[in-house]
Each structure stands twice: as structure tokens, then as C-alpha cells.
């Protein structure tokens, strides 16, 4: 197991949360001090040049997002941290907040300065009460130390942070739904344009970033662009990434690993190999909405661009591994049930289309399926993908499409046998 540089997890100790004193001792809030010596635009440029890409799943370059933000526009503007981590197989933000929450607070303060947003909201998952309490404590500490509040570190800049606990649905992770939820409205997604940077929270310019993204920012400010670039193994990429391992592995933990590490190293070294000495069959590389990778992809770099080349996505880097005895149809059925259940019910393809897919996958998995059902599944996917209002149904189609692309023979096997070839009952 290679020892890679630990940035976000450098202070992490099992069962403990870093308080302000220790965070400061390890170089904490130096990034904020550095940022306040610069102009807001310089901070944006620095982050842009670092190559930092959003860690919430979409991988949009953070600096570019910031440069679109109308920082000079007068009036209220908001910074929102998306901590509604509900993607199945993803638990990295929680590990980060439990270990070292001041990184987020500092990152928020820097981002607020760079974007000139006086008010920041940290929107946390309903189930993350433990994280909420730790972040609230970190905010109190930072406030008392003058890192937050009026005139931070004598800069003349004011930052106010609030923790908001989600009401608890997956759709709230969609940034416009999150904004509706934060406003106390029903969390249906909003149509884009206007993008949140133009009209977001309460109709004002709003920038939304993931927890991990914001927590990475202070380190870039402290150590610089070059250092950040060199963290990645992929020369095209930059930085480390939190990988949350789950599924049929010997070790299912969260690791901070450099971008560009191979899937093989993640699975075999850090995951300790497939459980029970079985063979690796497939994995979700970055949460439930990312198309499967199979054994042929083992030497692929775990990074944004390389995974897109094989029709998958890095997503949140929550790697869920399935062994050779797993029925991928059953996996997909399970995942689709989640998405169908979490549909907000706003648009027809998501609301009723995902339910129709659930019905089809049930039939196929339990041996009632026919060739006609398989054909119907294909036309359903074709008409849901790219046709829904927001990215939820789009994401839901990731594993279904990959199932049809990579494991159609298994589906046909189900139809022929009249049952699941992997089930002990029917096998």
C-alpha cells in the first residue's frame, strides 16, 4: 500500500474531531490569511489556475465557476455549501467533517471573500446530525477567533455562516432544489437558465460548491498551484480525492488518494482485494449514478477525463465493488428503486419513467421478463436519458444503460432461465 500525501485527512484520527487549536497548529487558517492579502479576483485566478474540479460529482472546474460569479454586483449574494451527501455509496464528506471541520469553515471564508458573498449556508444531510454539530462548533470557534463575523482578521470583510439541516431527500443534492429547500419551498429543481450565479437563493446571485471542494481551497491558498498539480498522479489533473470504498471488498474505508491512481490499486491495495478471494466483476466508480466499470478497466486512471472515455464518470469517487457472484441486474434493480423512490415527482420521465423501469427490472430479475420487456427497457432508457427536467433521472439511467451495454447477456439469461442465474433458489 503506497503512502500518498494526506491533505484533507492529515489530522484525521479515528473517533476524534480536530478542534481549532490543533487545526491552527497544523497550518490552519493560513490559507485565509493569504487570501485576505490578495484581491478577490486574484483568489479566483489562483483557484482557477490550480485545476481544482468540483468534488460533488459533476467535476466542473471550480475556478471557472467562480469566475462566472458576479462578485462586483451590489446587494445580497450567497455562498452555499452542498453537504447533502445522499448518493448511495458515498460517505466522504461525512468523514471529512467528522475529522477536520475547520477546513470547510476556512474554505467557506476564502470562497466568500473571493466571491464577495457575505452570507454562507452550509446545507447538510438530514442524517448527518453528528457533522452538523461539529461544524456548528467549528463555526463558533472560528467566530470567537475572528476568522468569521465582522471584519475578519482586520480585513474589513464580513462573513456570516449558517448551518442548515436538510429535510432529507436525495433531490436536495441537486443545487437548484437545494436552493428551493433552503428557502423553505418544496424542493423541486428550478429551470436553468437562469443559473444560480445569476438568480439563486432568494433570487440573488448564489455560488454552490461541494464540501470537499471548499475544504480543498485553503490548502491551495497555503501551498500554491504547482504543489496542488503535483499531488495528482495524472499529469493532466490536480489534487487528491477522497475515495469511499464499499461493497465486496476486504477493507471498506475512506481514503485520500491522488487523482489518476489506477482502479487496480484502489481495489487491490486500499480495498484489500475482493472479499472471500472472489473475482472482481464490476464496480460503480463514483456513486450510484455512475455507469459500471468492469475487470477490463482495472488499469484505468481514476480521474475525470479517463473515466469519461469509457462512458463512465468519476462522480463522487465512492467506489462500490461487486464480486463475480453478483447479479448485475439485481444491483441495477436495487439502484433504480432508490432513484424511483427519490424522484421529486416534478417531471414525467423521472416520476413515472423510473417507476416503469423499476417494474421492468422486477419482471426481468424475477423471471417473468420477455424479449418484449427487454426491448421496452431499451426504449424507456432512450427516452428518459437527456429528456428529464434535472439530472436525477439522467443519473439513474447511468447504471441501467451500463447494464444494457455490458451485461445484456445476463438479462437474456434471466429471460431464458425464467429466473435469476445467481439466485440460490433458482440456480
Amino acid at each position: 500500500m503506497n503512502a500518498y500525501p494526506q491533505i484533507l485527512f492529515k489530522n484525521r484520527r479515528p473517533g476524534e474531531t480536530v478542534l481549532l487549536a490543533e487545526y491552527e497548529k497544523s497550518g490552519g487558517y493560513q490559507g485565509l490569511r493569504a487570501a485576505l492579502q490578495m484581491t478577490p479576483r486574484e483568489v479566483c485566478e489562483l483557484v482557477k489556475g490550480s485545476g481544482l474540479r468540483g468534488r460533488g460529482g459533476a467535476g466542473f472546474p471550480t475556478g471557472i465557476k467562480w469566475s462566472f460569479f458576479p462578485a462586483e454586483q451590489p446587494g445580497d449574494k450567497y455562498l452555499v455549501c452542498n453537504g447533502d451527501e445522499m448518493e448511495p455509496g458515498t460517505y466522504k464528506d461525512r468523514q471529512l467533517l467528522l475529522a477536520d471541520p475547520h477546513q470547510l469553515v476556512e474554505g467557506m471564508a476564502i470562497a466568500a471573500y473571493a466571491l464577495q458573498t457575505g452570507i454562507g449556508y452550509i446545507f447538510l444531510r438530514y442524517a448527518y446530525e453528528d457533522c452538523s454539530q461539529r461544524v456548528e462548533r467549528a463555526i463558533e470557534e472560528a467566530l470567537a477567533a475572528g476568522y468569521l463575523g465582522k471584519n475578519i482578521l482586520g480585513s474589513g470583510f464580513d462573513v456570516e455562516l449558517h448551518v442548515h439541516r436538510s429535510a432529507g431527500r436525495y433531490i436536495l443534492g441537486e443545487e437548484t432544489s437545494l436552493l428551493n429547500g433552503l428557502e423553505g419551498r418544496r424542493p423541486n429543481p428550478r429551470s436553468k437558465p437562469p443559473f444560480p450565479a445569476q438568480r439563486g437563493l432568494f433570487g440573488r446571485p448564489t455560488n454552490v460548491n461541494n464540501v470537499e471542494t471548499l475544504a480543498t481551497v485553503p490548502h491551495i491558498l497555503t501551498n500554491g498551484q504547482l504543489w496542488f498539480h503535483e499531488l495528482a498522479l495524472n499529469p493532466e489533473s490536480a489534487g487528491t480525492k477522497l475515495f469511499g470504498l464499499s461493497g465486496h471488498l476486504n477493507r471498506t474505508e475512506c481514503f485520500e488518494l491522488p487523482l489518476g491512481i489506477t482502479l487496480r490499486e484502489v481495489v487491490e491495495d486500499f480495498g484489500g482485494g475482493v472479499r472471500g478471494g472472489k473475482k472482481f466483476k464490476a464496480c460503480l466508480p463514483g456513486g450510484a449514478s455512475t455507469p459500471y466499470l468492469t475487470a477490463e478497466h482495472m488499469d484505468l486512471m481514476m480521474d475525470f477525463a479517463p473515466l469519461e472515455e469509457v462512458k463512465s464518470r468519476l462522480g463522487t469517487a465512492g467506489v462500490t465493488v461487486f464480486d463475480e457472484n453478483t447479479c448485475m441486474l439485481a444491483v441495477t434493480r436495487n439502484l433504480n428503486q432508490f432513484f424511483a423512490r427519490e424522484s421529486c415527482g416534478w417531471c414525467t420521465p423521472c416520476r413515472d419513467g423510473l417507476a416503469t423501469i423499476s417494474w421492468l427490472l422486477d419482471r426481468l430479475e424475477f423471471g417473468q421478463g420477455t424479449e418484449a420487456d427487454l426491448a421496452m427497457l431499451k426504449d424507456q432508457v432512450r427516452n428518459i436519458k437527456g429528456r428529464s427536467f434535472c439530472a436525477l433521472a439522467e443519473g439513474a439511467m447511468g447504471p441501467v444503460e451500463a447494464l444494457l451495454r455490458l451485461f445484456e447477456d445476463e438479462i437474456i439469461d434471466h429471460i431464458k432461465r425464467g429466473g435469476c442465474p445467481f439466485s440460490k433458489r433458482s440456480g
Binding site: 424522484s343 415527482g345 416534478w346 414525467t348 416520476r351 422486477d362 426504449d379
Partner: protein, 800 residues
């Protein structure tokens, strides 16, 4: 003006038009559910997909979500678009029950239409359908949630457009439930619009339930008779009864929606006590006999006492044509005793408005675009409900709204309310017009000075007045203030809520003629010996009912033409039954001076009841339809005048009263109607002012109209009567405390006309020292005219 190509046809549309609307402009039908002209586009149904093959946007897009741009090339028949449409319908139909044979929406179901249009014909989903438990939403609306296809139109209508708060979206995924948090009657006075908005049979009319299929229903464009706004409606009739009303479309007035009073107030047409037979001295007679008797008896009186011994009272709910013929009739005898409204305040208000509003008149369409609306003594929910919805649209566009009223004025939007006694409203209007607030004390000046600044700063301000509280003098002050506050760059709009659907038309015919109080004096003095009432009831509508009753007792002849069981109809010496507006053609002029036509949907007759009790077929046979004697009001008057009963011919004779009536020749029903051009030289109106309480040391009662069922026609409608509140009065909490009364107390309300028992309600929005009594139907005080002030005594009663 972007120019784009849709299905190989070029079209140029205004900036901001979406592609779906552009396709509609080319008469290309694109199936859609969530888009609605009034509600806008939200992109939730995903049905209106079109393929953008060239130009600034590419790929498959929802047409409603894309603004038309120059150079777009769009196809509605691209295979991808057609395939998605078919799938969207397939998804919408996965949970929809196949209960069309027992569904009230059958025949007018958009889901049926879209299913055919979308191309989905074979059911592939054979899984379990989602099912729901329905809620009882009150007497108007029947819910059947299993049929829901989740288009969100009901909540967007109920909440976003109409401002209701007690109905919304519950649940998520394919378990979305539209309803109330708890079962119960929908509180919004615009709730019925969700029946029209629902594309399928989830929300249907409860009073209309299981009555008639659309194809068996006779419908025609009509104008709502319930207030002065003149909303477009489409009544539907069958079996000799009006069975329902749905909203018509008039973008200048109501837009796409109507209020519940208009929607469920149709039943006065079918009222069981409606007088349907001509009568002399209470005895049924043939129509010709009654007409002859009217002519003969009036001729005798004219012979003996001169033409001015006959008085004529028109009305704001009779057609313009009938009111004009009434004037012809008076002229034929040479009588000058002609008035058009028994309610003196409403009469002078309408006449003053018609004479003075000029180019300031604004429509509901104009009001929806306003940026500042100030209401002076106007309570929209009571006096013109759709005004409240129009105001809400202005507020959604950023407008500010101020209400200045002695009553609490509830609106479905945020407002600033300033309590002020009605008697001080003209004074305030004059002060705002002149910009001189010195007549007000410091505290009041602090309230009104910012208002003045806001009016001056507003780009599209409008001032609204209510006839009941302002009367003629108040409306005159309103028009003057609007004129004074207008500048060269922008006019201040004026809207007044008048007494009835044709108040404006009556006012134009009345001109500078006498008011009804003058007629009453003449009746009291016995110079007038006969009174002809055209669809008016002086016993109930006069401001001083006691005086009216006493004077009318002296009449030697009371002739009444009416379609309702009014007191005048009951007491008439000669009664002629007229048709309701759903049974005839005619026209009204609404409160902004818009001339609009209505058409008949049924012929009068006793409604047929299918009882299932073996009484069909009927065992008695007649040459004529039972109860079919009522004739159009203008038809009766033409008969009395011995003229040809041809509406078009009668209309041609009307221009002599106002040359603008020649526009009647161009009028068509179901259109936006014709706004009368501004006419400057109208005679000034002499107004005696509103009578006030006599100033004894008792309390003062302000009679007013209430919501929904408080008006005469609405009161006669069974679906609305069921929702009328128990009699109540409203007081300011301080005033109530001084009287020893608390919210919910029972009290005895005594006036010189009698007493009744009321519930006490409190509102901090009231002016103090006033007892507010919305229409006290079925009590001794039901005859108190809205807007009138009376001395009263309010005493607490022990709880039963």
C-alpha cells in the same frame, strides 16, 4: 421580433414568445399539459418536445421552455420528438384508471385528446397502479386522485395564480398527492378554477356531478351577471336547467379564470320559486292578457293623471336593450319619471363614473400590468371578486397595493391596509388630488404623504373605488384625483366596482335624469301612481328600505318584469316573467365601459328531474313546455311598445340615446367585446350624497356585501347558499371590548327595522366605533342596502 421556421413554415413572433406559442400561432398543434397561457411554462410534463435542427439551439428541447429566436429551425414531427411524446403519454397513463365511462370529464378530457395526439395506443405497463384515498374538498369540488397525471396545473392555478394557501402538493415520486393538509372545504373564493385547470377527471364540479356529458350540454359564450366586472363565462344547460358554468376566455377582462360566485351562482335560473307565469292580481293569466292589462291600466292612469303619474325603474341586471326600450316606453308617454337603479349610491356612482372617467378607465387586463393599485372603499372579494385575482397578478409582477377602507379588506396578496371611515374617503381623494394634506392630522399625514409620493413615482398606477361606500360624490372625487395625479407621460387608471353587470349601461341611459329617491318622493306625494320595475326590487335595494316600503304602499299599480322571486315580483299587481341571461341574447356594459354580448344556452322551462321513481314518461301532456312563459326582457318591452321583436332591429334604434350604442351592430359574443370610445360632453350628475346615520348615541351599523352568496342572484343559487355564513358582525377589538363583546360571542343586533341574532367577529383592520354587517340574509335586517349606515344597538346574549 424573432423569425423562425417550424415544420417548414416561417413565423415571426413577438420577443419573449416561446416556441410552443409560436407553433400555436401557425396552428400547429403541439400536445402539452403543463403549459397554460395564464400560468406560463414550467417544463414539467415533457410532452411538447420538438427537434431543433438548426439555429441558436440544437437538439430535442421542450418547446415551452425555449424562447423563440431568429433563425431557429424546428420540427414537431421529428421521430425523436414523436417517440418522446408517445412515451410521456405512456408514462402519464401508467397509473390512470380506465374509468372513462363513469368519469365526468369524459368528452372534455385533455388527457384523452393528448393520448390520441401523442400516439400512445397500446398499454405495455401491466404492473400495479398507484391508488389514493380522496379528500372531501367541500361542496364545490369532487376529487378523484387515482386519475391524476401530476401536471401541477391545479396547484399552479390555486396557489400561484389565485393566491389560495390551503391546497398544495404533498408527497413525492409517483405518489404525488394534490390536496389539503387536512380534509375540508377549499377556502379560496376562486377554488372552482381548478376544475377548469385539471386536464382530466381528478377535479370535477360536485354540483354538476353525473349530470350531463359535454356533448349533451348546450353551451354558448355569455357574460357573468353577478357583478359589474363582466367576466366571460360559458354556461352549460340541459333538461331546461342551467347545470354548470365554466370560465370563458377574455384577455381584457377575467383572462382565463372566474370566481366561485360566477361559477356556482347559476342556479337562480332553476330556482324552484322562480315566477314563471304572467299574473294579474296574483292570478295566472295568459301573456297577451297581462300585456294588454299593462297597456290598458297605464293608459287609464295617463289619461286621468298625466304622463308623469307613471314611473319606470330599470336595473343593472337587465339587458342594455331592455333598459333602452324602457326609456322608449317612458318617452312614448312623455313621462320623465325614469331611473335605473333603486340603490341611490350605486346609481350616482355609475352615472358619475360614466360621465367622468374618460380615458382613465382601466380594464382588469390593464390592472394586471399596474405597478401601484390603491383601493378606496372597495372590497374586491365582495364587490368584484376577479379584481382580487387581477390585483394579485400585478403584485406578482412587483406592484404595491394599498387598501383604504373602514372594513377589513382581504386580498390574496400582500397589501398595506389603512382603516378610514367611508365618509372621509372623498376628503382623502380630494387631498391626494390637490397634494394638500393639511386637512389631516400629523399622524394621518405621515400615513398619506408617502402614498402621494408613491402615486407620483408609479409608472402605471391605478385607483379603484367601490360604488357602495363612495357613492356619486366619492366616485367624482376618485375621477378628479386620477385626473389631477396624471401627468403627460402617464395616466392614473381608474376602476370602480358598480352595482351590477349593466350599471354602466343603465347610467348612460339615465344621463342626468332623476334618481330613485326623487321617484319615491313623487310616489309618496301621490303624483306618481304607477311604477314599472324592470328586473329591479325597490323594496330591497333602496338605501332606506322603510321609506321605500311605506311609499310603495301608496302605488295604485305596480308592474314588475323579473326572472327571480323578488319582493317586487310577489307584490306586483301585474307580473311579467322574464328570462335569465343564460336564456336570452342581449348585452351589458361592464364597469370599464366594455360592451359585451351574451347568448342563450337554454329555453326557459321547468327543469326536468329524472327521479327514477317511475314518473317518466310524463302522464300529462301539454301543447307547450311547462314553465316556458318567460320571455327576454327586451322582447316583453318590444311587445308592450307594439314593436317587432327582432333584436337587431331594436338595437338599431338605440343610437339616439348614445351614438356609441351603434357599436351594437358589430358586437359578437365570445370576443373581447367593444370598449366604448371616450365621450367628453356628458351631462353633470347632481347627487344628493349618501344618507348617514341620524347621530343618536347608539352604535353605527355599516351594511355591506359579503363574499360569494351575499348578492341576490347568488343567494338564490343552491350551491352557493350552502356556503353562506351564519349572520355575523365584525368589530374592531377595542370597540368590541368597550361593548363588552369578545370574538365568537352571540349578540342581538337591533335597528329601527327590527332585530336579529348575530355572531361577533373581530378584526384589527376595522375602523373603531363601527358595526360591520355583511348581508344578513333570512333575518329581519336582510333589506339593509350595502353601503348604508344605520343606528343600531348591539347587545351581548347568553350563549345557547
Amino acid at each position: 421580433m424573432p423569425k423562425l421556421t417550424i415544420d417548414n413554415l416561417e413565423v415571426t413572433v413577438p420577443e419573449g414568445t416561446n416556441v410552443l406559442e409560436a407553433a400555436c400561432a401557425l396552428d400547429i398543434a403541439i400536445p402539452h399539459f403543463c403549459y397554460h397561457e395564464a400560468l406560463g411554462a414550467v417544463g414539467s410534463c415533457r410532452l411538447c418536445a420538438m427537434m431543433f435542427t438548426d439555429g441558436p439551439v440544437k437538439g430535442l428541447q421542450m418547446a415551452c421552455m425555449v424562447k423563440a429566436q431568429d433563425g431557429m429551425v424546428v420540427s414537431s414531427t421529428h421521430p425523436d420528438a414523436m417517440e418522446l411524446r408517445e412515451h410521456v403519454i405512456e408514462w402519464a397513463m401508467t397509473n390512470h384508471p380506465h374509468d372513462c365511462p363513469v368519469c365526468d370529464e369524459g368528452g372534455e378530457c385533455q388527457l384523452q385528446e393528448m393520448t390520441v395526439a401523442g400516439g400512445h395506443s397500446k398499454r405495455r405497463f401491466r404492473g400495479k397502479k398507484a391508488t389514493f384515498t380522496n379528500q372531501d374538498l367541500g361542496p364545490f369540488i369532487q376529487q378523484e386522485m387515482n386519475r391524476c397525471i401530476t401536471c401541477y396545473r391545479c396547484v399552479r392555478t390555486y396557489r400561484d395564480y389565485c393566491g389560495g394557501t390551503d391546497y398544495g402538493v404533498l408527497g413525492s415520486r409517483n405518489r404525488i398527492f394534490y390536496g389539503r393538509f387536512q380534509e375540508g372545504k377549499l377556502e379560496s373564493p376562486f377554488s372552482g378554477n381548478i376544475i377548469d385547470a385539471c386536464p382530466t377527471g381528478v377535479l370535477t364540479s360536485k354540483p354538476f356531478r353525473f349530470k350531463t356529458r359535454l356533448w349533451d350540454l348546450q353551451e354558448a359564450p355569455s357574460i357573468c351577471p353577478h357583478c359589474s366586472l363582466g367576466c366571460a363565462i360559458v354556461p352549460g344547460g340541459r333538461y331546461r336547467e342551467v347545470q354548470r358554468v365554466r370560465a370563458g376566455i377574455n384577455r381584457e377582462t377575467n383572462g382565463f379564470f372566474i370566481c366561485d360566485r360566477g361559477r356556482f351562482g347559476y342556479d337562480h335560473v332553476n330556482h324552484p320559486e322562480r315566477p314563471r307565469q304572467p299574473r294579474i292580481g296574483g292570478q295566472p293569466v295568459a301573456l297577451e292578457t297581462a300585456l294588454d292589462a299593462v297597456r290598458d291600466r297605464i293608459a287609464v292612469l295617463v289619461e286621468a293623471h298625466g304622463p308623469n303619474s307613471i314611473a319606470f325603474l330599470g336595473s343593472s341586471r337587465a339587458s342594455l336593450e331592455a333598459n333602452a326600450l324602457l326609456r322608449d316606453w317612458a318617452s312614448a308617454y312623455g313621462s320623465e319619471q325614469l331611473a335605473y337603479e333603486a340603490h341611490q349610491g350605486r346609481d350616482y356612482a355609475a352615472r358619475t363614473l360614466a360621465a367622468r372617467v374618460g380615458g382613465h378607465a382601466c380594464s382588469l387586463g390593464d390592472l394586471r400590468q399596474s405597478d401601484l393599485i390603491i383601493l378606496f372603499g372597495a372590497d374586491p372579494l365582495a364587490e368584484g371578486p376577479m379584481l382580487a385575482v387581477a390585483i394579485r397578478q400585478a403584485v406578482r409582477g412587483g406592484a404595491k397595493v394599498v387598501t383604504i377602507d373602514p372594513r377589513p379588506v382581504e386580498l390574496p396578496c400582500t397589501t398595506l391596509h389603512i382603516p378610514l371611515p367611508a365618509s372621509r374617503l372623498p376628503e382623502l381623494l380630494a387631498a391626494l388630488g390637490s397634494g394638500d394634506l393639511s386637512a389631516f392630522d400629523a399622524q394621518e399625514r405621515a400615513t398619506f404623504a408617502p402614498l402621494l409620493d408613491q402615486i407620483k413615482a408609479a409608472r402605471r398606477p391605478a385607483m379603484v373605488g367601490g360604488a357602495d361606500l363612495l357613492g356619486g360624490q366619492g366616485i367624482a372625487a376618485l375621477c378628479s384625483a386620477a385626473a389631477d395625479l396624471s401627468t403627460a407621460s402617464r395616466a392614473v387608471g381608474v376602476m370602480a366596482l358598480l352595482g351590477g353587470p349593466n350599471s354602466y349601461g343603465g347610467a348612460l341611459l339615465a344621463g342626468d335624469g332623476p334618481g330613485f329617491d326623487t321617484l319615491l318622493d313623487a310616489i309618496q306625494e301621490r303624483t306618481v301612481r304607477a311604477l314599472v320595475c324592470l328586473e329591479s326590487d325597490p323594496f330591497c335595494e333602496a338605501l332606506d328600505p322603510a321609506r321605500a316600503q311605506a311609499a310603495l304602499g301608496h302605488l295604485e299599480l305596480l308592474v314588475c318584469i323579473d326572472s327571480t322571486p323578488s319582493l317586487a315580483a310577489q307584490r306586483a299587481d301585474i307580473f311579467l316573467p322574464s328570462r335569465a341571461n343564460a336564456e336570452m341574447s342581449g348585452s351589458y356594459i361592464n364597469n370599464e365601459g366594455r360592451l359585451q354580448e351574451f347568448l342563450p344556452v337554454i329555453d326557459p322551462g321547468l327543469p326536468i328531474k329524472v327521479t327514477g321513481a317511475g314518473d317518466h314518461p310524463p302522464r300529462e301532456f301539454f301543447q307547450t313546455t311547462p314553465g316556458s312563459a318567460p320571455a327576454a326582457d327586451w322582447w316583453l318591452l318590444a311587445k308592450l311598445l307594439e314593436r317587432a321583436t327582432i333584436l337587431a332591429e331594436l338595437r338599431k334604434t338605440m343610437a339616439k340615446y348614445d351614438e356609441r350604442f351603434s357599436m351594437l351592430s358589430f358586437l359578437a359574443a365570445g370576443t373581447t367585446g367593444l370598449r366604448l370610445p371616450v365621450k367628453v360632453a356628458l351631462p353633470p350628475v347632481a347627487d344628493r350624497g349618501l344618507p348617514h346615520a341620524d347621530g343618536s348615541d347608539n352604535q353605527t351599523l355599516l351594511a355591506t356585501t359579503g363574499p360569494l352568496g351575499s348578492h341576490w342572484l347568488a343567494h338564490l343559487s343552491a350551491p352557493l347558499a350552502a356556503t353562506e355564513p351564519q349572520p355575523y358582525v365584525c368589530l374592531h377589538p377595542d370597540f368590541a371590548a368597550a361593548l363588552g363583546l369578545a370574538s365568537g360571542d352571540r349578540a342581538r343586533l337591533t335597528t329601527r327595522f327590527g332585530h336579529c341574532h348575530v355572531e361577533v367577529r373581530l378584526s384589527a383592520q376595522m375602523v373603531s366605533g363601527l358595526v360591520l354587517a355583511p348581508q344578513l340574509w333570512d333575518t329581519a335586517l336582510e333589506g339593509l342596502a350595502p353601503g348604508s349606515l344605520h343606528d343600531c344597538r348591539l347587545e351581548k346574549e347568553a350563549r345557547a
